[in-house]
């Protein structure tokens, strides 16, 4: 499964829930597959998707918040896992699309090949799941509907040749429509 296939599957499964998607190819793929006003696409500020998700989760306890993150992204802000694990927001679901590399900057390796991000999250009070194919992913997405967070799903993905176009919305418009203005 590549990232695009994984994002296609999850967006089909979760419908109109709030999504905070990390900068780089993750936001680009999400934008090209399933653009909607409840998506907050990050363009810069790498590493902060889970923190923005936490802020939203705290203020919106009745909504489920999905963070679409990458391995390189979360490795830049591991402290975020400890803050989330301390506050334990029940409505936060953290997806890490893990290709073991910084794909958008040329495929340089990350440490997720030798260190388990899921184990770090587990130590930080997350319920963790790891999936490697579409049927596992689909099953876990059904299962977590009945679980309370914080939940992390590490989705192992393969790199692909196909690159989605940039997010063409103005950042201030991404914000306004996300806020329902």
């Amino acid at each position: 499964m590549n990232r695009k296939e994984a994002i296609e599957l999850i967006t089909r499964k979760i419908g109109n829930e709030l999504i905070i998607s990390a900068n780089g190819y993750i936001s680009r793929d999400l934008f090209s597959i399933n653009d909607k006003t409840t998506n907050f696409y990050m363009i810069g500020s790498m590493g902060l998707a889970s923190s923005i998700g936490l802020g939203i989760a705290i203020k919106n306890p009745k909504k489920r918040i999905y963070v679409f993150d990458g391995d390189g992204n979360i490795l830049m802000n591991l402290g975020s896992l400890t803050t989330i694990g301390t506050l334990k927001p029940k409505n936060l679901i953290h997806l890490v699309f893990d290709n073991g590399s910084h794909e958008s900057t040329g495929g340089q390796p990350t440490c997720s090949n030798s260190i388990s991000i899921a184990k770090i999250a587990k130590a930080a009070n997350f319920k963790i799941f790891q999936v490697e194919n579409e049927s596992q992913f689909e099953r876990i997405l059904t299962k977590i509907k009945k679980l309370s967070g914080p939940i992390m799903i590490v989705v192992k993905i393969k790199n692909s040749e196909e690159v989605s176009g940039r997010v063409s919305l103005k950042p201030s418009d991404i914000k306004k429509r996300f806020m329902g203005k």
Binding site: I43, S51, T83
Partner: protein, 160 residues
């Protein structure tokens, strides 16, 4: 700033509707932070960029938010301020301690203390220096800035 004023300032901001305070501690404002901890109204993050991210999430949920930090943290945060807060026009109040304001502060604070005002100007973050005799006006000014959709910064000098 005096202990009493710092505590009053925290309560005043809460009453003005700035309900979310996230940051990394600084001794320059320790009573302000302590007041928030006592009332369980403050969140301590691991790094300043993380604190800004959380506050942005709260601001996206239509809640006024403040991020506090030392000026070392301001240096850490420049990219997050330019590529998140300013790029998306997200209104936040920054409260930044001014270490290195006095010449005899510890050596690691001297350089950042010298360039702090220039950094704020360069990145285009409007700021005011909060003191014991102008803190209410500064808080009102900051609230006006974020109500108009702009971020701003309140600076507390370290005078000890």
């Amino acid at each position: 700033m005096k202990e009493k004023i710092q505590r009053q300032m925290f309560d005043y901001l809460q009453n003005l509707g700035v309900k979310n305070l996230v940051g990394v501690p600084d001794s320059t404002m320790k009573y302000f932070i302590d007041q928030g901890l006592k009332k369980n109204k403050i969140l301590i993050a691991t790094r300043e960029e993380e604190a800004i991210g959380i506050a942005v999430g709260m601001s996206l949920s239509k809640c006024h938010s403040l991020v506090f930090m030392q000026n070392a943290g301001l240096a850490n945060s420049i990219s997050t301020i330019t590529s998140l807060v300013q790029l998306y026009q997200i209104p936040l109040i920054f409260l930044v301690g001014w270490r290195g304001y006095l010449q005899n502060d510890a050596p690691e604070h001297r350089k950042i203390g010298e360039i702090q005002s220039s950094i704020l100007k360069l990145i285009g973050l409007k700021s005011k220096i909060v003191k014991d005799d102008n803190w209410k006006l500064c808080c009102k000014w900051a609230l006006k800035q974020i109500s108009n959709g702009s971020s701003c910064c309140l600076v507390i000098q370290r005078l000890f």
